[in-house]
Symmetry: C2
Amino acid sequence: MNISALIAALRAALGSERVRDDAETLAIYSHDDTPGSCAPVMVLFPRSHEEVQAIVSIAHRHHLPLVPRGAGSGNVGGAQPVPGSAVISFECMQRILDYSAADRVITVEAGCVTGAINAHVQADGLMYPPDPGSSPYCRIGGNLAMNAGGPHALKYGVTRDYVLSLRAVTGTGETLCCGVRTSKGVVGYDLVRLLVGSEGTLALITEATLRLLPAPAAKATLRAAYRHTASACAAVQRIMAQRHIPSALELMDPHALAAVRAMGAAGDLPADSNALLMVEVDGEACAIPDQVQAIRTALAGAGHLETLEATDATATAALWTARKALSPATKAMAPLKINEDVVVPVSRLCDLLDGIEDIATEHSLRIVSFGHAGNGNLHVNFLVHPQDADEMRRARHGLQKLFQTVLTLGGTLSGEHGIGRSKRAYVPLELSPESLAIQHAIKRVFDPDHILNPGKLFPED
Amino acid sequence: MNISALIAALRAALGSERVRDDAETLAIYSHDDTPGSCAPVMVLFPRSHEEVQAIVSIAHRHHLPLVPRGAGSGNVGGAQPVPGSAVISFECMQRILDYSAADRVITVEAGCVTGAINAHVQADGLMYPPDPGSSPYCRIGGNLAMNAGGPHALKYGVTRDYVLSLRAVTGTGETLCCGVRTSKGVVGYDLVRLLVGSEGTLALITEATLRLLPAPAAKATLRAAYRHTASACAAVQRIMAQRHIPSALELMDPHALAAVRAMGAAGDLPADSNALLMVEVDGEACAIPDQVQAIRTALAGAGHLETLEATDATATAALWTARKALSPATKAMAPLKINEDVVVPVSRLCDLLDGIEDIATEHSLRIVSFGHAGNGNLHVNFLVHPQDADEMRRARHGLQKLFQTVLTLGGTLSGEHGIGRSKRAYVPLELSPESLAIQHAIKRVFDPDHILNPGKLFPED
């Protein structure tokens, strides 16, 4: 069946306004928040599980590759179309299907905006903890596909830890319901967590039942400045060695601070500071002072310059100024930011930052690092000019070296962004041939014709 | 190859003392803590991952079914041999292979006693939270196979939530390493959580890296007595609707209290009490009084008779007397206890207990229920005489009705015990044919010749 006939068949199933192939729509959906683009042959806008199932059934019969898309805010090209593929956007599936404050569960469609879940449950004193930076606009389906994290993962865990059950459509167009609506359940294999983080390659998740937690009553934010990276890393280790797990523990390296200074957004930082920690603690109001005191003690040490503290919203926002300025600051530094997302054990964080310094020197690269230090999860940004072939070659060597360093330190290539298109060449550095063979075989179980998000997650054949 | 030749081959690989086929050994390993037994043809005692791999390679070549066994403390027959099988006991693999207090991770062999992990990390103020009742003697490999829970799962989660990486041997004798040693990681499919809870049917787990948490500084225990089940269930709902998640919230129904009274272990309970709640809260010492006050408020209400509180060890033990007497008390009531482990949403707990009452009346059965009320996870014990054919028939009908009730209430057949041999006939009540077909196909990926723990987890063909 040619593309026109396929479009006609899909229009017959969904209605013509749900199947778009005009140039403007194809252009909009040709990329996500990652360099690179590829126009799809059509964009589909299902409104329900049943419509997704209808799409996959037709796609399966006619070998049409499907690329699932939430908000397109991913940065590993997970929602980037491949040639001849249809994008299936979940933006018209935003309903909250069920909510029980008593049972602390909510069932939502895959296109529901993550922040909207929190907005919905807030009045009952509840929260959905995972909070990727894109929470205000990203969609839960994308979070589920990538097992999204965020700063609060340190205390609260990641997307995987909050999914009770899923409704999905496999690559053969079959409906798969898995998981439970209860807080415990051990019947059969854990298909829920197999689908979470599978980047849309096993099944298209249409609905999810999520676990909620009581929102903390109070929080406090601390910002500590250090003379050197090493002294900030030592403080991270001291914090993670005491009993109070912060709700967030973020680090900015000297290059991140320099970038922010260049933007004029670090005016209140000590002039000799070269590394910054942001710490957030939360809990009952009565428990905050003890936590703050313990964190202050851990923050102090060789190379520590100052600690500032905030509890009200205005002062807290002021403390986050430098950190919030970082994204625009790095964007201003170079046309392309290659954003890696590596993790090492907390005890090796300083070794990782030393290794990154060596890579920058050896390969003459500008690298800005910051991120979720309490998890040992750093966002390592290579700032490059795509037109500069020599710099791009050096960046490729530097990336390879970065991944080798991370694995030597007992770490992993990605903590929360996933593999997508961007990192799949590096997967064999981390996963054994045996593990990859099993993952390929699992892929064939769910999607024998390889129509779900092809060209993602797995290394190229 | 006949059994004698197989034994010879395995002795050549492992040493003769690692392969036992004497009558006494076969008898000991013919059952776990579940009614029913079947003698294996041999019992194997590997001392390392490599020896497990050697065993599976030989077993794979010669189609020898392998039944993995931790401490044999499971109660769904998960470690029960099948005819012609070899038991592979992990009791000689108890080493702690690696431990980092700084990174809060520990790597242990599968035969490590769960309680020993806690003993090892206690001096550093750390804990491994999952605590099935069998913690003092069960082995972590069994906990991983069944995704074990325990009372503290309410606040801290289950085994699955603490596993970072696994080393295992698939049914073809291949080594599979999966997961990370870091607190985050999203590279590839989540094979770790696919193996956890797979009841030894996909791969034999030999080593596990587990996440640790800081141990709470203080705790308090409350015991509340109620006139009726309904009033206790209402209190459970009130507790689970306020902000402080207890570290444990256990319920005993009227029949459980009657059993304990018959043992003389409920002397200090109000005479008119027919349901009991045990609540434990933990955290920083300064946060305990607020938590206790909030729980006390939630405990009070219609039908509430009294609340007692304990913080020191002696008083706490006294409060637990009735609950601790329950297991021997039910054992004294009938020769056989059919112990189910169902879960419903907390908001439906009272409906479940009403349903159980109806089943007991309708089918003239003695049923004692207690368990992890905060998770909606009840242990429902049918007390029967195996020689009484009519009672056993009524019990089968009652079980079927129980499972139907649980599923109608939005629940699941097992919260922490698993399926094993005992419950597999009921699995199709909960899992769809599509889900089961996918699970069978995953089984074939890991264990194409079906030699790993046959006759478990899946419904009979």
